[in-house]
């Protein structure tokens, strides 16, 4: 397992022009405000344009998996925890919220809170049992728990619909006092909902990565023992990160259930866990934009390859291997390197 360049402090970048901004949390000067502004506008712009250049369901899916992949990147890029069980939390959130929505509880806040809570709760259970395992053992354990959750979903037909998936899910309704109620039956309004949650997740995670929590988590990725010897309860920090990632994955799962009004059993399959790791690896772990780009590329390629050949996962696998072998920091890392070559000195850290 390779440690990445992600230092826990690089802020999100704009899609148009990934600029490495300096990081360090320890200078007196506040971050370059204009650069932040440009980045924010770039991301909001990209989110607004997305549904105009592709089918809106695909655009929505990209945002959903973007959320899922950013959560995974908190573990992979920042904490260095390669979880291969994230689909379990995505699935838990999707089934829990989906169950409510299929049984007449259509309140949006309720669905989101339940998705978040159930994803986080299952992640806490899995995390407590696996967080102290290192490297490959951690991977295998999270993977095994994913299988366990899959099996439970598969067998618990009365609640989950078993292998047919959970059908009859309705889109949620948001009741606002004095304003009225919004339904998300229309795909554009649902896209708006996904965008809001996507941007909120990004803001929260980018801030988190640059908070003391994020920096110490990044420190423990680079040298866990040293971080303990500085007085930090590393396993506890990792567990909390695991729960946060699980909770956010749960929200992504709930959005997925709402989007297609069905929660397919495939969504809790371990392959989903592998895919989200691929998304992070393809896009790059150095900041939260990487996983989003990774998710977009992955979903786009999945669509493309599945048109070409029924054995599309094979092509996807080859693609992932090529990226891993040639671009150690993923697509975003590659692009920012290019721009630092062209604009001399740009890649340098300024403090």
């Amino acid at each position: 397992m390779r440690s990445s360049d992600h230092n826990g402090t690089v802020l999100a970048k704009s899609i148009e022009e990934p600029v490495e901004i300096s990081s360090v949390g320890t200078t007196a000067r506040p971050g370059p405000l204009t650069a932040n502004l440009i980045r924010s506008i770039g991301i909001i712009g990209a989110v607004s344009i997305l549904p105009l250049v592709m089918p809106i369901n695909i655009a929505t899916e990209i945002l959903i998996f973007g959320i899922f992949a950013m959560a995974a990147n908190l573990l992979i890029g920042t904490a260095g925890l390669y979880s291969f069980g994230q689909a379990a939390f995505f699935g838990t959130g999707g089934y829990a919220a989906g169950y409510l929505l299929a049984h007449g509880w259509t309140s949006l806040p309720l669905a989101l809170v339940v998705a978040c809570g159930s994803g986080g709760l299952i992640a806490a259970a899995v995390g407590i049992l696996s967080i102290r395992r290192l490297g490959i053992y951690f991977m295998m354990l999270t993977f095994a728990f994913n299988q366990l959750v899959y099996y439970i979903v598969y067998s618990w037909r009365s609640v989950t619909g078993g292998e047919d998936g959970l059908a009859g899910i309705r889109r949620p309704v948001l009741e606002l006092p004095f304003v009225g109620s919004f339904s998300f039956d229309d795909n554009r309004s649902f896209y708006a909902l996904a965008s809001v949650l996507f941007l909120a997740t990004m803001i929260v995670l980018v801030r988190m990565v640059n908070s003391p929590f994020g920096l110490v988590l990044a420190a423990s990725r680079q040298n866990s023992r040293r971080t303990v010897s500085l007085g930090y309860p590393v396993p506890m920090l990792q567990l909390v990160a695991f729960v946060i990632a699980g909770a956010i994955s749960g929200v992504a799962g709930a959005l997925f259930a709402m989007l297609y009004r069905i929660m397919p059993i495939d969504s809790v399959h371990w392959t989903g866990s592998a895919y989200v790791v691929f998304m992070v690896v393809i896009g790059g772990q150095r900041n939260m934009l990487g996983p989003v780009i990774g998710a977009a590329v992955f979903i786009w390629l999945q669509g493309l390859f599945s048109l070409v050949w029924t054995r599309w996962p094979l092509l996807l696998g080859v693609f992932v291997i090529v990226i891993m072998a040639s671009l150690p920091n993923g697509l975003v890392g590659f692009v920012s390197k290019l721009s630092s070559w062209t604009v001399k000195g740009r890649g340098q850290r300024q403090c």
């Binding site: 230092n7 360090v24 949390g25 971050g31 929590f213 303990v228 500085l230 309860p233």
Partner: protein, 251 residues
Amino acid sequence: MLAQNQIVLAADRLSKRFGGNTVVDQVSIAFAKGRLHSILGPNGAGKTTLFNLLTRDLIPDSGAIRLGATDITDLTPDRVARMGVARSYQISSVYLDMSARENVWVAAYRARGGNPFVFWRQVTRFAETREWAFSCLQRLGLVEIADVPVRELSYGDQRLLELAVTLACEPRIILLDEPTAGLSSKEAERVKRVILALKGEFSIIMIEHNVGIVMDLSDEITVMNRGAVVAHGSPFEIRENRDVQEAYFGS
């Protein structure tokens, strides 16, 4: 014998086995407040393992550890660290993907009682921590390289940074594991001056192979071999000790 109130850290019949190998064997040792106490001994003597036991990185098989009047035998290593025991490692253990500034920040934040479960406030906002961390870099003469990714620093600078990180912990006791290992003689001289400056201000326990440095800096020396203490005394007494002479001074 040391008076009870002079002892900052003490091991009482501490033992550690790896498999069938007794690496630390019934070691009793007391470290005095404000003194620099060196531990000498050949490779494999169990010095680093003793450090790992004292900081609770490793769990002792038997024996007890006291920090001042407190028994810390059953504490976790992060708790021991928070009680003022800071260490540097034999193998550089700085954070390679961060800048030197961030390295010391992580240490300084916790030392100043910072809560790691702060999720929203940005690292840049902690002015006091930042200043204290920076002063530790200044003290080691690392200001110029403060913002260079540590991965790109020379090994010597990484070792100095390791000392700066240890200082940023605002410790009561500093454990240094071969602070000059792998350094050029010029760099070793720089480290020596730093340690000399720290002496008196902190209680220091130092494992070191460079006999010259040990003799010049130490108030007290303990010699270990095969997991056991074989000699203990002032630098003068150790120099005069025959067994030690044979092993170390080649006479």
